[in-house]
Symmetry: C2
Amino acid sequence: MDTKTEKSAATRQRIQNAALQLFLRDGYRATTMRAIAAESGLSLGNAYYHFASKEDLVHGLARALVDDQVRAARPRLRSGNNLQDNIQVVLDAALDAVAPFHGFGPVLIRSAISRDDEAAAASKAREFALWRQAVGASLPRPPAAIRDDLPELLWLAQRGLVIFWAYDSSADGIRSRRLAANIASLMARLAVLSRLPVVRHIIDDVIGVVRNVERVDRA
Amino acid sequence: MDTKTEKSAATRQRIQNAALQLFLRDGYRATTMRAIAAESGLSLGNAYYHFASKEDLVHGLARALVDDQVRAARPRLRSGNNLQDNIQVVLDAALDAVAPFHGFGPVLIRSAISRDDEAAAASKAREFALWRQAVGASLPRPPAAIRDDLPELLWLAQRGLVIFWAYDSSADGIRSRRLAANIASLMARLAVLSRLPVVRHIIDDVIGVVRNVERVDRA
DNA sequence: GGACAGACTTGAACATGTTCAAAACCAAGT
DNA sequence: ACTTGGTTTTGAACATGTTCAAGTCTGTCC
């Protein structure tokens, strides 16, 4: 069922391409496995030989989206932006990657959230690395005290943003864009102010929350 | 399909009871509509006469949960607690209400989030009222500047908590309890510190985010 | 070349959510 | 009692996700 073997993994691609095309045109629910099989010119059972389920097809897409995001965001992080700009870059890349799939947003979300296999862990690791780079490339550098926690925090914020996007029915997801800008501004301000004890305490609370949330994936 | 008619709405109850029992015993997916029909001693088609779909059965349960939460929390808000305690009371009531349903948490969540009919709006209104009362009954009173926004903020935090709970696999949801305590502490501290301009700016950002999120339900 | 083992593919069967036309039921009016 | 109009109930049919036993293809070993 995996790509461990030879070029019959081209079949996987054919199926996935057909699925993508139909998902985009008709949405997730309206697309039947039989339609996918027909579109790709293969048999129904064959699709199930290569993909465990209809949802599994979506997982594949979701994984590709993370790659898109990383590919789009990374080159724009080099120039020594400030933190807010860098956050904006990464969040925008996430929304760009996900934009064509608004038709079946909720399904995509469920796929991203509720999965706990190795593939999902790998995707998450790549996203974490991206956030670490975004923080590390920022000038002026965020305060040391918060620098290590920031990627975690931002990753969580991104997840919240994508959930929001999935249920955002505004034209072109304009509200999600605005939310992304808000988040970037908020996070940058929080980072700067984390030197103040009062703010620091709040941040500690938030970090505590984040660590709690993080632990979900391990349990 | 609604309760607008006479006692044949007892049938609705029979179906819903059977569904609840089976959902609790076997989980959402493993419970088939035929099993529900059999358990309630009625026919399959009858279930579909009273409920539009299998998910619709869950919506009914979700609505009842909100009632449970309100019923449990309200009496404990009278005594002039401080804000943190009141927040904790409401969040704990939410977790208590939802606790027996951990088996099909994600389904419950999807039901709560992605619905946009009148019934869902009514449930949300009742939750809002509860949060308004929690804020209003707190001594010392939260700063006026934030008092109006706090219920909105807390409602959002609760939604986040419940999402977390749905995917929290720790024993007895102990992590969700801890998260609730963290949230209560965080929110109370935020309220107190909202007088400081620096904190106030951060809060404004967050409120902006919340208003954005809110607008989902209207669009 | 032929037999073998394994991956790949297929079509039919199965399970379950959903729909529908018809039957049963029920209250009201005559 | 009979008709009538509406609601409720039923069982069969349908659509679609999923599984399976059996074919087919492909490369390897003798």
